[in-house]
Symmetry: C2
Subunit: 200 residues, 2 copies
């Protein structure tokens, strides 16, 4: 019997997946979590074989949870299950050593099969990921990311400078550099593009 935890913030989808997986003879959903922090606690307590993990959840993202599980050398395997085929997310997930990365666009019947295959030591990845995203890695340095995040909140160059203890001019240099790395003409486009790719 494979013991499963589900971490997913949309109650509807979470409940629906749990009901369906429970119908399978060899699968058992032992716990459900509605956010990342809860998921981590649940896995600690229940020691399931595998966890289906959404990425964008309140309190702690699925990627953070996966990273922390890796740190603690937890036995629980992780299958990321998300809407987004953002290259940045995928890259981070792989580095966190997850066993699977599936898109919510996959048909339901693939789900149980994927879980079984992962339990047999295989890796499961939705094909879109390999094509679309690989090798399109994050061109932004950590500092540039900091700047861009704040710009995304609508902060002005001066405000960003204050938040980051930099000078006003330096911030503008960073932004200028970001714009030409991303090949766009304004902060707004840069923020949109970076968010879209999961580069934050």
């Amino acid at each position: 019997m494979i013991r499963i935890c589900i971490a997913e913030d949309q109650r509807l989808l979470r409940g629906a997946m749990a009901s369906l997986l429970d119908l399978e003879d060899d699968l058992e959903v032992v716990g459900e979590a509605g956010d990342g922090a809860e998921a981590l606690a649940l896995i600690d307590r229940l020691q399931p074989d595998v966890c289906l993990m959404d990425i964008e959840m309140p309190r702690k993202s699925g990627l953070e949870v996966a990273e922390q599980l890796k740190e603690r050398r937890a036995a629980c395997k992780v299958i990321i299950l998300t809407t987004f085929s953002r290259p940045g997310y995928f890259e981070r997930a792989v580095k966190a050593g997850v066993q699977g990365y599936l898109l919510k666009d996959e048909p339901v019947d693939k789900l149980a099969e994927a879980i079984r295959r992962v339990m047999n030591g295989r890796r499961e990845v939705s094909p879109e990921l390999i094509f679309g995203s690989l090798q399109e890695e994050n061109p932004l340095t950590p500092r540039e990311r900091d700047v861009l995040k704040l710009a995304g909140d609508g902060q002005t160059a001066n405000e960003i400078a204050a938040s980051l203890h930099l000078s006003h001019g330096t911030v503008r240099n960073y932004i200028s550099e970001i714009l030409n790395k991303l090949e766009v003409k304004s902060r707004i486009e840069a923020v949109r593009l970076a968010e879209d790719k999961g580069w934050l």
Copy 2:
């Protein structure tokens, strides 16, 4: 037997809901669509009793579909099923005469019940909507919305002016007005806020 169509772009959720609803004796899922245009065609062809409708879908949003069904005086009832409790969406849905508006955060078991109640002539609305959103109506005029949308794509005042056949100065007046209606300091914040509220 209640005949149901499901319009939802996430295949996983769509499939899961279909399987679960089909387990109920009095419900039958007769069709599934992955985008708005497909949904409209499907409803035309199959004449189901009720349609579960996501909002943010490719090609045509669930709100557009609902509006067009109303225009054609279609018999099919509509239950909106979405992640977003955006006031603007809810308002539009009500105007389009939908019978239900549920959040994907609802537990699964509510779903079948909601469908039955709607078929009995009742209205079904997730409680969050009433509180959070009502009476927080869109403060933007149609023209202001046009301007803000383009600004959201990263267009400059001049570009927006050209797209809308306005003068550069007028565009800036609009933006200035938008900023103080929305009580924010920059276009970026304005775009974020408006998108978040569903005011587009």
